[in-house]
Symmetry: D2
Subunit: 451 residues, 4 copies
Amino acid sequence: MVDLQLEVVAIGGYEEVGRNMTAVNVDGEIIIFDMGLKLDRVLIHEDTDISKMHSLNLIEMGVIPDDTVMKNIEGEVKAIVVSHGHLDHIGAITKLAHRYNAPIIGTPYTIELIKREILSEKKFDVRNPLVTLNAKESIDLTPNLTLEFINITHSIPDSVLPVLHTPYGAIVYGNDFKFDNFPVVGERPDYRAIKKLGKQGVLCMISESTRVDFEGKTPSEKVASDLLKNDLLGADNQSNAVIVTTFSSHIARIKSATEIAEKMGRIPLLIGRSMVKYCGIAEDIGIVKFPENTRMTGDPSAVDRIFRQIMKEGKENYLLIVTGHQGEDGAVLSRMVTDKTPFKFEKYDQVVFSADVIPNPMNAAQRYMLEARLKRLGVRIFKGAHVSGHASKEDHRDMIRWVNPEHIIPSHGDFNLTTAYAKLTEEEGYRLGEDVHLLRNGQSLKFERII
Amino acid sequence: MVDLQLEVVAIGGYEEVGRNMTAVNVDGEIIIFDMGLKLDRVLIHEDTDISKMHSLNLIEMGVIPDDTVMKNIEGEVKAIVVSHGHLDHIGAITKLAHRYNAPIIGTPYTIELIKREILSEKKFDVRNPLVTLNAKESIDLTPNLTLEFINITHSIPDSVLPVLHTPYGAIVYGNDFKFDNFPVVGERPDYRAIKKLGKQGVLCMISESTRVDFEGKTPSEKVASDLLKNDLLGADNQSNAVIVTTFSSHIARIKSATEIAEKMGRIPLLIGRSMVKYCGIAEDIGIVKFPENTRMTGDPSAVDRIFRQIMKEGKENYLLIVTGHQGEDGAVLSRMVTDKTPFKFEKYDQVVFSADVIPNPMNAAQRYMLEARLKRLGVRIFKGAHVSGHASKEDHRDMIRWVNPEHIIPSHGDFNLTTAYAKLTEEEGYRLGEDVHLLRNGQSLKFERII
Amino acid sequence: MVDLQLEVVAIGGYEEVGRNMTAVNVDGEIIIFDMGLKLDRVLIHEDTDISKMHSLNLIEMGVIPDDTVMKNIEGEVKAIVVSHGHLDHIGAITKLAHRYNAPIIGTPYTIELIKREILSEKKFDVRNPLVTLNAKESIDLTPNLTLEFINITHSIPDSVLPVLHTPYGAIVYGNDFKFDNFPVVGERPDYRAIKKLGKQGVLCMISESTRVDFEGKTPSEKVASDLLKNDLLGADNQSNAVIVTTFSSHIARIKSATEIAEKMGRIPLLIGRSMVKYCGIAEDIGIVKFPENTRMTGDPSAVDRIFRQIMKEGKENYLLIVTGHQGEDGAVLSRMVTDKTPFKFEKYDQVVFSADVIPNPMNAAQRYMLEARLKRLGVRIFKGAHVSGHASKEDHRDMIRWVNPEHIIPSHGDFNLTTAYAKLTEEEGYRLGEDVHLLRNGQSLKFERII
Amino acid sequence: MVDLQLEVVAIGGYEEVGRNMTAVNVDGEIIIFDMGLKLDRVLIHEDTDISKMHSLNLIEMGVIPDDTVMKNIEGEVKAIVVSHGHLDHIGAITKLAHRYNAPIIGTPYTIELIKREILSEKKFDVRNPLVTLNAKESIDLTPNLTLEFINITHSIPDSVLPVLHTPYGAIVYGNDFKFDNFPVVGERPDYRAIKKLGKQGVLCMISESTRVDFEGKTPSEKVASDLLKNDLLGADNQSNAVIVTTFSSHIARIKSATEIAEKMGRIPLLIGRSMVKYCGIAEDIGIVKFPENTRMTGDPSAVDRIFRQIMKEGKENYLLIVTGHQGEDGAVLSRMVTDKTPFKFEKYDQVVFSADVIPNPMNAAQRYMLEARLKRLGVRIFKGAHVSGHASKEDHRDMIRWVNPEHIIPSHGDFNLTTAYAKLTEEEGYRLGEDVHLLRNGQSLKFERII
């Protein structure tokens, strides 16, 4: 005869792809999921050094979630739970976490990345305890609340599906994931645990929706590996430089490239500050093992040294794996093509873009300029060796059928994506406003059912 | 001190994708390459039974090449050479070949397909001798002219790159091909032979250009196989019908599907008249070996019988591989969804489109209607498990560099494609009108250089 | 101290463009707004004669609104109110109206069109009283409910903004409209009445959203008239046939064409059954006055006769205004181009499409085939002489600011449009789920505020 | 019995939209048409001050035509003829003209603009005589060559169709033009003169092709004027700032805006350095007469002063017409929105973009950022009040039919446009390589016919 006292607060990521942040309030005990950045808002405000900026300015600019709504939520934050290490999920921690007297909980790789973020922050002093929880493990957050990490696949290692077990049923935080049955790094999704959730009863699933508008199923990372092989082992490139550029955090992709380097008889060279950060940590904590002869260089002067060596010894002995696939100004590839390094491009050198253009006009322009410059130099450009890290429509359908939640809240997208997700749920028998809910940033959903 | 007496006549496929036909006249000895259909012209004229129509009508409608220009070419046709068995390369043989007193030469699979075409023709009686030449073999057509078949990869088995060796140098007919280093059926392209051509001296290469506007390199058929695996082994489909639809002539794709069926514990069932034709011939002549339990059914009454059996025994025991990926009216999939067969779709049955929509509005409409009908029935649709059979820009660049022809003529496309190809040749040092030539249907290029 | 007893029931048009139907229940007195068709669902089911079909089949096919939800609404239907005469607003009357014991109320032109619909219906006998209400007039529907018709502009004459005045405030049914300050037929929108509504207090506005995703303001019909003039008076067409094709119900556009015909020294000829219906009624009831020498022909045999006359006397003496802008199979233009009439196209004859292609693949295909056939005959095609009849984003913003409703429900579109509208309302201070509401077909919104 | 000694040299604009330059060599007397910039090449090389750069660098960057090919052309340059004052036609004069000992000939407005270009050039000293020739006038360039200027319409005043009358027939330089029958500034095209050309015999027409891929006919500038009226007189803007931004050189558009300002009861204010340049000259030489109360301000400090005045006196008293429609960094609108002027935007202020986004990714990004910033401030954005200044497909067809040239060379575009033009000529009976010719930059066409 008591009302259900559970509330989901949509803080960020409910009107955009990016700056994810959600709070779940269970009888006054609050768990926060993710604190991320919205990176393209930064691009609109050029010459912005985020590390020196104050939260309120960043909120006003739309760069980080507007957590001022938390003032209206009665309760105490018990934990900040992060799903994986991408910046749109952890990038706002350095700006927001210090406001909450609560530990930050993530998988080992994610926690290591958060440590680096905290180290490079110049405005705030983040002292929240950092707690490591492995996939397939659980932890009691309070006597009433247990957090479970289910192993999942995504485009960064050590990603999990956090599940909050509450007295009213489980809350599944499905943000982000794909179902990869042939992963290159890590294990397949823990389907058994996911299906078990469905049998035990899930009150609410919060789900990403960034790629729900693609019909079918997202291809496995193995496909990307084959595509990379196709480009690197197929074209006539024996006497030319070969350069791969991809996301620094995409350890599986980078691993594939280093292994193909072996088949090409080339030494894999990871170049770029963030390349070293993400790959270095991954190797340090044993998530990945690159081939013995792999080398990493991030420090600019060391980068220059290695480029001089390459130019002297012959480019054809190396496979360069560099930052800069979006044409970002300071990244290695942009610096290479504008002669800011000792590297010199020659006709028939080969650049493989193992990443899509992130779809906004600023990225499109940067990438266009990068490609225009490469083409002027006669460089051969290869595209398409990429697969997404996000679930497509039929992956989501399986997820819904397996988890079988009473309520669903789509997130990580604006209306175009959250409503595409809502339409999918309608196909599965849900009804808008009844058991599938469109929230906007700052809104919350209270479960007021009589128990 | 004699003018070069070699002429390339662009008959069809120089203003469109389709109805390929080219003649090469060497001192009065004429070799014809391909005689194909332009299929979408047929769609514009509904209710057309091509098999009963006369050549001149079909020419007027733009369905077959306008070979009336041959009247102005002085010389004698010595051979009709076909590159592979797709209808846009062989489909006009039944309408045009009887006009020429010359043998038709092709690889075994292609020749078998031509035999079937001739059998189903109702207007003309085609009695040209059919001559089989294997990849890697040569044949002397006249004392001056030798035909070589170089093994190449494409989306149908037994495809070759025909090369005509003439006293003035070789003529390479590169129409159609891709460079697949991990083919599922057949061998890798004969790179050694291609490079050898370049060293011996090639006077002119005629090259397809249908996909030259895609940057990079076309993915291997192995990628398509992985994508199919991703869809078939990934989604939750244990208790549902699973249907794959692809090109009947795409034996490699069909082979992949039948092998995945084994992993799924299902019996592969090839359904549809043309499915049986292409796959049956391929198996008969030893090009492919499907799993033991594979079954094929083409005859409508047998198809009905098998569907009744499936409905009774349980759809979950079969993997159906059917015709109809473009939503064509009479094809198996369209008949299934409009209840013209005993098959009944149920919610969660799965259809995998392993083919792109051929980009014209009529196909788009048919396919849209097909998908709309499937969705109304709750059928899950999977797309994207496909790769092209045509070379992309960087494949073409390698081809040009290896073959190193004195002259190039792009074909198999309208200006948008042939000029994309011309731009590529400009990057490789060719100049429009000098050594790269844009021909229109009916035009010819004479080589008038002094020897 | 009493709950508000007002409910808006979304019956059709809340998940699609088309089949509009909304019910408003005020203390048990129900007013229905519109009963429309969704035309492209008909195209998916070819060979369908709607006039002979039963409501339940049409509901199941998604062609008409699913009004079976009305069974759950307690109250009595007092009136069926129609906003204007387009089929997506009146086309289901013949299938649904007989179930309700209530009069149908519309403006004179709309009521005349409904009469024709009823006459051609073959399945149901519709005997509801037909009541005429002019723009700027009001009528008491019950002691509590008054209906007001506010004059508005749209792409058909005699369109109104129906407003239901209730004890709880006004309900504005803004479906469909544009703000045209330079209309070709009829008067400018009654801005004074609209602004007055805002001052009196509007409880809820139901608004179309079909074009809210276009930034700026929809151009006036005067622009279309200028564009038509541009095409007709600009190109070199003195000795050729000139044919305009547009919507038969677009009386303003047709009027412009007939007046330009005068400047061209040509006799305007309206050809096609529906052309005669819409234009004939419009002239009969005095909405429009075509030039004296305008002729109309709808009956097929008369059409043939007139075409024979044209061919004999010289096409250059006429401006033909015909049906068939979407390439519809039986329409006049399709029949002309496939030689089903005595009209013969010649090179340089001119066809002006004064209508956009309705964006679905079936229309795209039909129109593509039509144009392909015209081009084969050497006919010159002119496009772009068209403006929309629907409000764009900034028109909607003005509407919202003027009407200032407490609640808003976007309609006439699926999520892509209704959420684009919702985003606009957010810019104006509304909040999703609080005062702007996304309904799906079959859902209703109850106003439960304490008075 | 003498060969025809006439040669057309394609120098720039034959592989791009921009940097137009063509030479015609008649028996050793050379006439150059246009010397233009390719502006987007400048955007790729940021921080470039063109006025200080050397020709060879600009050639290498692809910014100006590569006229080094002129070294191979035997003859003497007799005149540099410019068609109109757009930078893609005159912008390279300051870099290239000094190399030629020849006068520059243009209409009065064009010549005035060239004078300003020369004044702001910092690298080269251009001393070529500047000769004014009015539309409808002719001038003898040499005893053999006469230049005629035919009045034509385009998006800048005083545009002409230069015709070179030679002993071998006329050469028509149709680059750029539209056929506007209701022009806002200047007179209708001189159709009589154009048709007369066709009767006298034209050897070769060089034609722009930038918009030939649009079906139909380009709308008149009157339509743009109506569209502007629609936006400015339609929306609810009485108490808000209203800002129009368009091309500074588009005098007709600016005139329309100033006249609508009168109807709005606002003072028209032209703001921006180039706005003052183009409009000031136009008024000075009597091409246009703006309303009495129109004010112009270009100097930054004066601009600041006027903005302060506006903010004080009330924005609602002015119609601002400013530079910056592409979001260019230093332009007035960009400076306004980034608070670099005393102007402050408020919610509901209105910006009307009377210009399309020039389609390249850099412009798209700049414009996107501009609009994002405006929207954040609540500014209402209006788009679409624009028509092109270039001929569409059917305009070109009329041109070809009227001029009836023996040979045609499409220019001002890459293959996508020049081949679209070529296809049109095929419809009119021309044949590629025979009488319609695709040239690439640096190539030339010799007329070797026997006279």
